[in-house]
Amino acid sequence: MSEPNAGAPAPVARGPIRPPGPTRVEAGWEAGGQRRDGPVVLVDHTPLAKIQVKAAYDGEAARILGVPFGRAVRGGVGDLVVGSGPGEWLALGPPGTQHALRGRLDGALAPAAARELVTTVDLTHGRAMMRLTGARAAEVLTMLCAIDLDDRRTPDGTAFRSLVAHLATDVIRDDRDGMPSYLLHCETSSGQYLFDCVVDAGREFGLVVSGP
């Protein structure tokens, strides 16, 4: 008797947000829609690798990661490391790299793990993620979020957790080429809901949904 699933095509991962238009497979994930431009652009980035790290907020691991609570920094162990809570970080990497990213994190944090409790959890499948970019992106979010998004209060590199459209959401200001850009990050099960709310709020600002 042959091994179950032998010869079967590799399974395709599907995020919670229905892709716009015809679909294709990228890095093992179902993707859809062409790249589009507009005054405000919304892209589903759920396939990004997402590894959560927990450790003492003021310990060795915190020093190694070098990102304080409420800030997000590019480079280092992940493409983007976010101080998403006191003693809690989220490292992001390209789609399909979660195992490698977790391995890098475990390796980098090994010296700290010898002295304190350091744990990692793969949340790639547990969180939906989307990116809202454009000169008026903050205005779109003011329709849904009570936080002051002015440059002077939440500049590039700011990270916070708040309600967006009444949903607990992590918001990361991560500008792209000088253009205001926000990563929104919520539980997978509500990903489509949040995506739809942002699309609805962005309608009057000319928001377009783009493929990744």
Binding site: E3, P4, N5, A8, A10, P11, V12, A13, R14, G15, P16, R18, W29, T46, P47, Q52, K54, L117, T119, V121, D122, L123, T124, H125, G126, R127, T142, M143, L144, C145, A146, I147, D148, D150, R152, R153, P155, A165, H166, L167, E187, T188, S189, S190, Q192, Y193, L194, C197, D200, A201, R203, E204
Partner: protein, 970 residues
């Protein structure tokens, strides 16, 4: 009878210097079915007035004809129906092409309204008429109500508004964070906004009119020049200007609610929730009506209304006028009228003791009787008898207004305001346009300075420049406010005669048809305070909420009770400052929902949805009984993704589990799972679920679907407050996994077809074990062998993005095994047959552990766990209700869940779960019963919802099917 058709634009004047209409853009709209021309920029009322229309509505109680009084949003005589929108302020809403505008609650026509017969019964419709007349007999109130509803004054809403023009009914909400919010866009408000913005503050200027400018807009050439300059400065300074918007309320910490009545974009209205560092109240003054006989006739107007009509809309308010004036506004109105060719028959100067006694006429003013006995024929009576400072927002910030008799006005006591609230302009006092701007500038600068200080204190990053903030040297500002308030100097109320009523009685509250006589009656009946008289007569309770009439009410009460106006005081100003639609308060419909990764499949296969909190779950796929039977005979799969899941890591997890669960966890080996129950400190059952040990220091805990968030908080609470020394990390991973229960006698065979890396044989993978492996080619899956349905079953947790793939694979590989999906309803049937309780259904908010048949799980020999003392006491008492299985004596009667169990007149328990068992072909139940009825074989009485009584027998155990558990242990 048809109404006379006025000449089109017969009252339109030649172009005026400050007019806001665009004569190049002319269009038509309809008023009570007839077409009228208008210009862009016209309000509905100004367009109709330009066409000679004088009557716009009928009054609230007596259905008297009413015309323009203020020609602004506050106008009590111009509330109309626009299309499907009722209660529109016609003197404020702009006319637009094709509008269908109608008068409200008039029949057969506005001009000849049958309900005006109420006037004949006016003497019987005094204050308190409703309270006195319809209180007895109480049983007739429903009949009274039906009749009274016919007299309700208001417009008409469509029966099903969501079906009508849904786009137009889109209400919105947004947030704003200005450093300085200026409420009121008159000269002082604009100057304050400019000064604050030029100092570096983010400024939001809110103006109720369609354009800022206040009284400058209808002023002389110098006013218009200054207005243009201020508008230019506002624009250059980057002030965000929100017109046709009103500040509804000021709450703690300057949480300011603003409603935009015509926002940019697709929304119909928008509520703006603003958090302002400093609030500048520049709400100005409102002109007060004068009380005398006939003061509500069409043609009686305030001086500001006349000035608006003439100067903004180029409308001639009448042909022959009498002007009663006690101030500059009245003088200016008389001058305006003369300038545009209206015959000013008399100017009655109240400053010299002159007065108007009454106005009279049918359908409008025809003549006026003056204080010296003269009778003057006219169609327009203009009054300018005083002002009310718009202190509402200041009062909401804690200020109590003080009466200044020499100015006949309540003014704010600025010293009682918090540092974050300042005031400028007419609300503070009077002054020339230059003085108003100077005051506004000083207040705006200080508002910015205070905002800068607040920003500094809040740790704003990065530091920003406040170039115009004095004393800050172009950088950060000192945080302490100036010891002397900037708003307290520079403007003082000018002397003004105290003019409230003449020598005849008239209407005090024109919204509610309350007269000065009504107020005197109220005082005679003992309602002699402002608050009591307000509630008894409904004065100040209409749409204007007292803005026009509050001083008149208080003045009449003071006179009637022999007190001063200060002693009587005002009623309390509370939010909202202006009427607001429920739609604006509701805003966007934002109700988070949650879906599993298999949602698409469920929808495509006809699942009937079940709303369970935020989750949308498949209740069944058409026949839940058949779905349950298939699980008993073959194999079924159910989407159980909503089951709460917590990833627990660390060397002290076992300590945590021992603390939170009532049973023991110290010896749980790697690869095993165990059922656990949590109780709160009071011993009440909190949640249940299974927890598996995946590795030495790694566990996966499951919770009920509805309890996932609460349990996470519960775990964190105990860790963070009681045991911060324990080394445990908790991460909610409920939706990181798609969860599927594969249940039924053929479930092992199905699992073997899709699983790799796990030996599924009974010896290698027995009941209550956990394994990790690959399912349908998906790695990192967790497999629990547990049995909520009472069948051999595997609960698989797969990385969620592969949930749909695994679900489809199971169905594809199990076709010959009879695999079929089953929903929540089938699962509930199966678990009831098996006698598994559901926390929250078979327990409630007072069900302690021993009342849930959990004796076997509660380990009082553990040194400690949450709820232990209460549970020990409960067991010691032994008098608690018991959860038992119940078999109805009539096997075909399924008592609905919640039915009472009774013993005579006493309630002795309730049915907690009930279904017809497809396996047994009979009704089965769980129920909580009093201790003395819990013995197996005891017969209890069930009261059905229709009152009938039926019997049930207490079963040997909770399970009705396979009580030994043989089916799930194979």
């Amino acid at each position: 009878m048809s109404e006379p058709m006025p000449m089109p634009m017969s009252m339109r004047l030649p172009a005026q210097p400050g007019e806001v209409i665009d004569r190049e853009e002319r269009f038509s709209f309809s008023w009570n079915g007839r077409s009228y021309p208008a210009y862009s920029g016209d309000t509905i009322a100004s367009a109709l007035a330009a066409n000679g229309v004088r009557i716009f509505s009928r009054s609230f109680k007596y259905h008297r004809p009413r015309g323009l009084l203020t020609a602004s949003h506050l106008d009590p005589g111009c509330t109309i129906q626009v299309g499907e929108e009722p209660n529109v302020r016609g003197a404020h809403r702009l006319a637009s092409p094709g509008l269908d505008v109608r008068s409200q609650n008039t029949w057969p026509s506005l001009r000849y309204d049958v309900k005006s017969v109420n006037r004949l019964a006016g003497r019987f419709l005094s204050a308190g008429f409703y309270y006195k007349t319809f209180i007895k007999p109480r049983r007739l109130w429903p009949a009274y109500e039906k009749v009274l509803q016919r007299f309700v004054h208001g417009g008409v809403i469509p029966d099903r508004p969501e079906e009508h023009d849904a786009e137009a009914r889109f209400y919105d909400k947004r947030y704003a964070h200005p450093d300085v919010l200026v409420a009121g866009g008159g000269p002082a408000g604009m100057a304050a906004a400019c000064a604050a913005a030029e100092a570096g503050a983010r400024v939001l200027l809110v103006e109720e009119e369609h354009r800022p400018g206040g009284h400058l807009r209808w002023g002389d050439a110098a006013d218009l020049t200054l207005l243009a300059e201020l508008r230019e400065r506002v624009s250059a300074a980057g002030v965000e200007v929100m017109c046709d918007a009103v500040v509804l309320g000021r709450y703690d910490d300057n949480w300011v609610a603003v409603v935009e009545r015509s926002p940019a974009g697709p929304a119909f209205e928008r509520l703006v929730k603003a958090r302002a560092e400093t609030l500048v109240v520049a709400a100005g003054q409102i002109e007060r009506p004068y009380v005398f006989a006939g003061n509500d006739l069409p043609g009686v107007m305030l001086s500001t209304a006349v000035r608006r009509l003439v100067n903004l809309y180029a409308v001639r308010p009448g042909e022959r006028a009498v002007v009663l004036t006690a101030n500059g506004s009245g003088d200016a109105a008389a001058a305006d009228l003369s300038r545009v060719g209206v015959d000013v028959a008399a100017v009655v100067d109240a400053r010299h003791g002159e007065d108007v006694v009454r106005a009279d006429g049918r359908g409008g003013v025809r003549w006026v009787e003056l204080g010296d006995g003269r009778r003057v024929d006219c169609d327009l009576l203009v009054t300018a008898t005083g002002w009310t400072a718009t202190t509402a927002l200041l009062n909401m910030a804690g200020n109590r207004p003080v009466y200044r008799p020499e100015a006949a006005r309540f003014v704010p006591d600025l010293d009682t305001l918090p540092d974050t609230v300042v005031a400028t302009g007419g609300v503070v006092g009077d002054g020339t346009r230059e003085a108003l701007c100077e005051h506004g500038t000083a207040v705006g600068e200080e508002a910015a300075r205070r905002a800068a200080g607040a920003a500094e204190q809040s740790g704003e990053v990065p530091s920003r420049a406040w170039p115009g903030v004095k004393g800050a040297e172009g950088a950060r500002a000192p945080s302490a406010p100036h010891p002397k308030r900037p708003d307290a100097e520079g403007l003082t109320p000018e002397p003004h005669p105290e003019l409230i009523h003449g020598r005849t009685h008239g209407f005090v509250d024109l919204c509610e048809d309350v007269t000065s006589k009504d107020l005197l009656s109220a005082v005679e009946e003992g309602y002699d305070s402002a608050e009591l008289a307000k509630r008894y007569t409904t004065a100040t309770m209409g749409p204007t909420q007292g803005k026009l009439e509050i001083l008149n009410v208080v003045g009449i009460l003071a006179e009637a009770t022999g007190r001063t106006i200060q002693e009587v005081g005002t009623t309390t100003w509370r939010p909202p400052y202006a009427p607001v639609t429920l739609g604006a308060l509701a805003g966007r419909r934002l109700e988070p929902v949650r879906h599993s990764p298999m949602q698409r499949w469920h929808e495509e296969h006809g699942a009937v949805p079940l709303v369970a909190g935020a989750w949308i779950r498949p209740d069944h796929y058409g026949d839940p009984g058949a779905e349950a039977a298939n699980v008993r005979e073959n194999v079924g799969i159910i989407d159980v993704t909503p089951i709460g899941k917590l990833d627990l890591q660390g060397p002290d997890v076992a300590k945590l589990l021992n603390l939170l669960y009532v049973n023991k966890w110290s010896k749980l080996e790697v690869g095993r799972v165990r059922y656990g129950v949590m109780c709160a400190e009071d011993g009440v059952v909190l949640d249940d679920g299974v927890t598996g040990r995946l590795g030495e220091d790694h566990y996966l805990m499951s919770t009920t679907s509805s309890g996932a968030a609460a349990v996470w908080e519960w775990v964190e609470l105990w860790l963070q407050t009681e045991h911060p020394d324990w080394r445990v990390h908790v991460t909610p991973v409920t939706t990181a996994y798609a969860s599927i229960n594969v249940a039924g006698p053929k479930s092992r065979e199905l699992m073997e077809r899709v699983t790799t890396g796990v030996d599924l044989s009974p010896d290698a993978f027995p009941y209550m074990r956990v394994r990790r492996g690959s399912i349908a080619g998906v790695d990192d899956c967790v497999i629990w062998r547990i049995g909520f349905t009472g069948e051999l079953s595997y609960e698989i947790h797969v990385p969620s993005a592969y949930g749909l793939h695994v679900w489809a694979s199971l169905l594809a590989h199990g076709e010959d095994l009879g695999v079929a999906p089953f929903g929540i309803e089938a699962q509930r049937i199966l678990r009831l047959e098996k006698g598994h309780l559901i926390v929250g259904q078979d327990t409630d908010g007072i069900t302690q552990g021993y009342s849930a048949d959990l004796d076997w799980a509660i380990k009082l020999d553990k040194p400690d766990f949450v709820g232990r003392p209460e549970l020990a006491w409960q067991r010691q008492r032994g008098d608690h209700p018991r959860l038992v299985g119940l078999l109805p004596l009539d096997a075909d009667t399924v008592p609905p869940e919640g039915c009472q169990l009774v013993e005579g007149a006493e309630i002795v328990g309730r049915i907690t779960s009930s279904r017809r068992s497809p396996t047994l072909g009979r009704a089965i139940c769980l129920g909580q019963v009093a201790a003395h009825l819990a013995e197996p074989g005891t017969e209890v009485t069930v009261r059905l919802p229709d009152g009938r009584l039926t019997g049930a027998r207490v079963a040997e155990q909770l399970a009705s099917v396979d009580p030994e558990g043989a089916r799930l242990r194979v």
